[in-house]
């Protein structure tokens, strides 16, 4: 019998370049940034060890607190918003517009379009004086429309709305693929038994789509903590930090203020929160996901 190492050696040799690349460009930076999170390091200066100072400062600073709260609020708008909307769109496309490649493409286009370009278009839509939205509102008699991007009440929801609009097509395609695996005979039997549309949706579609929904939920949660480009192009985190989320705050600290140690600690807090949320989701998975 050939020893195991001899059997796997050719595969390992072929995998080696990819493994080396993975280690050098992914694993080492990930581990190194964890080490850095215990240092005060302005990138052009010498690092100095500060222990848990970065973490303590983040957890006690009012600005970090506001940023963490913004991230949570953004997630609470984005995750349910994008899942519900993508589920509705996928259901409509799967039934009423089953053969419409046009609608499928049209809804998917925002996802593959340049984020900065479409966000600039949204910036104009939300503009206070010359924006499409406020002019449309004035046309129907609402003159005191808000300054959507310059008002702390609306800026974060505006960023979330654009993010949902951008990503919903992607989630819709994932859910559409799941919907198309559901056997139509279930619906026929339910129809014969007299089940109406909503009942069929909640008793057949949702349970049989639960595995796809679970996947979309995890992806949406991860993406909700990573919003950056839309925030950058739409509000730059303003006004007065009201739309600054954790990923944008990491960027600010790393590449505007060059506080690499502090940014690394922020990134690891983000990683911890995300890991915790994913674990919680996996724990509750068995209660609602049909295997």
């Amino acid at each position: 019998m050939t020893p195991a190492w001899q059997r796997y050696a050719p595969a390992l040799i072929f995998l080696l370049p990819a493994l080396v690349g993975l280690a050098v460009f992914r694993l080492v930076p990930i581990l190194w940034s964890f080490v850095l999170s215990f240092y005060d390091w302005q990138i052009f200066d010498q690092p100095s060890f500060t222990g848990l100072d970065n973490y303590i400062h983040i957890l006690t600073s009012p600005v970090s607190g506001q940023v963490l709260l913004n991230t949570a609020v953004f997630g609470l708008i984005y995750v349910p918003g994008s899942i519900i909307l993508s589920l509705i769109l996928a259901s409509v496309l799967n039934n009423a517009l089953r053969s419409s490649a046009f609608f499928r493409s049209a809804l998917f286009v925002p996802y593959i379009t340049s984020t900065v370009a479409v966000t600039l278009a949204w910036k104009w839509i939300f503009s206070t004086r010359f924006g499409l939205l406020n002019n449309a509102l004035a046309w129907i008699g609402i003159d005191a429309a808000p300054a959507w991007l310059a008002d702390p009440t609306y800026a974060l929801p505006a960023v979330a709305i654009v993010s949902i609009w951008k990503d919903v097509g992607f989630y819709m395609i994932l859910l559409l693929a799941g919907l198309q695996t559901i056997d139509p005979t279930y619906y026929e039997a339910a129809r014969i038994d007299g089940a109406r549309v909503l009942r069929r949706f909640f008793r057949i579609t949702v349970p049989l789509l639960s595995r796809s929904l679970f996947f979309v939920l995890i992806i949406a949660i991860v993406r909700s903590t990573q919003t950056f480009e839309i925030t950058y192009a739409l509000t730059e985190g303003g006004p007065n930090r009201s739309s600054t989320t954790l990923a944008y705050f990491v960027y600010e600290n790393a590449f505007i203020h060059f506080q690499m140690g502090y940014a690394a600690a922020l990134a690891y807090i983000l990683c911890f929160v995300l890991g915790l949320l994913t674990l919680v989701n996996f724990y509750f998975r068995r209660r609602w996901v049909h295997e």
């Binding site: 005060d40 302005q42 990138i43 052009f44 200066d45 010498q46 400062h57 600073s61 600005v63 910036k123 104009w124 939300f126 503009s127 206070t128 004086r129 010359f130 924006g131 300054a147 959507w148 991007l149 310059a150 008002d151 702390p152 950058y232 509000t235 730059e236 985190g237 303003g238 006004p239 007065n240 930090r241 009201s242 739309s243 600054t244 960027y251 600010e252 590449f255 505007i256 203020h257 060059f258 506080q259 502090y262």
Partner: protein, 427 residues
Amino acid sequence: MTLTRHLWVPLMAASALATTMAAAQDTTLTYMMWDPAQLETEQAAIAEFEANHPGVTVEALAMPPADYWPRLSALAAAGDLPDVFAMSSGFVQSWAEAGNLADLSGLITDEQLAQYYDSAASVGVIGDARVAFPQNWVAPVMYYNIDMFDAAGVEHPQRDWTWDDFLAAAQALTVDENDDGTPEQYGMWLYGRYAHIEPWIFRNGGRLLNDDMSAIDPSPEAVNALEFLTSLVNEHGVAPAPADMEGIRQQDVFPLGMAAMWVDGSWNIANVRDVAGDSFEWGIAQVPVGPDATEETARAYAWADMLAIGNNSEQPDLAWEFIQHMVGEGRTASDFLGGKIPAFQAIAESEDWLEADMQPANKDLLLEIGTQPIETGFSRDWSAWRGYAASGSGGMNGELDEVFNGRSELDEAIENFVAYGNDVLSR
């Protein structure tokens, strides 16, 4: 024997010459800066330097500021800084304290120094060392729409204007044609941006930082200036709330004719020319001296774009020659667009740079500012506590905008930005 010796000497000389030439041919000077468009204009000066230094090749690289600083920082961390690189007034202190910048003090003579604006050259002096040398400098000025002033019958900004005179003019220039409560033309445009606020603070003799720039500690003159500026929006209604202008590039409000006056950096001369074209006549003036200051105690707000030598450069003398060439006689007036003022006085005072045939007609005002005592307002971590660029929504900028937008009181905003700024500076 004699013949052999005669042959030996020229052979040795030829060998030495060849070695020297080979060494010279190997000399590469690395140069990095933050403006690709400007590097294009600098190519002629670089070519001239190479022509004057046979065997020397200048490897020049430019990228926008958002990429420039992370990349330069990474090179500093790797101990591989370029020989010469652009250095801003905002970062020079941090970079000098980190030991990344070579000391140029021994390289320049007093006679050479006298050829440059002293105020600009002083920005590169940190402690006892001259660590950077100015290429050009910039200063916020008051832009004013001459056509609007004339239409309203208001006297143009005068050198002895008080802040009350300015306010009276702004009130006369605010026009609500249809009486709907929203003026079509405002007297002034401003928000929490550093180039909109600090000129008034410094012209009132105020300071935001303490003496050693280690803490935010606004002086009473600074607070008075902030009270005056916020009253322009909230009390007098002569300037729009920043929220009303959302969606319009801040530098376009004045050239689009939406405001009669605006204080911002002299570099915006180029943008006003581009956007306004010949649609109206405009000029520039200095921000009026505040009620708490005199001509002697008021200071101008100005800072310099500089060049520095990396502390690890193996050819600092050649690098210094390059800097001298790039900041001085190697340049022409056309290299300095609009309101970027050459630090080399001979170019700044030339007819070519003063551009008498273009707007503003009084560009020489900028040269006068260069002779005044200046304040740069920069400190370590300035971008964080002040709220600048992509972090402009936070810090002092974000807090002041809340006041301008009527959502916060000035006292509360000052308390907040002082607490945040001191937290940043103490870290």
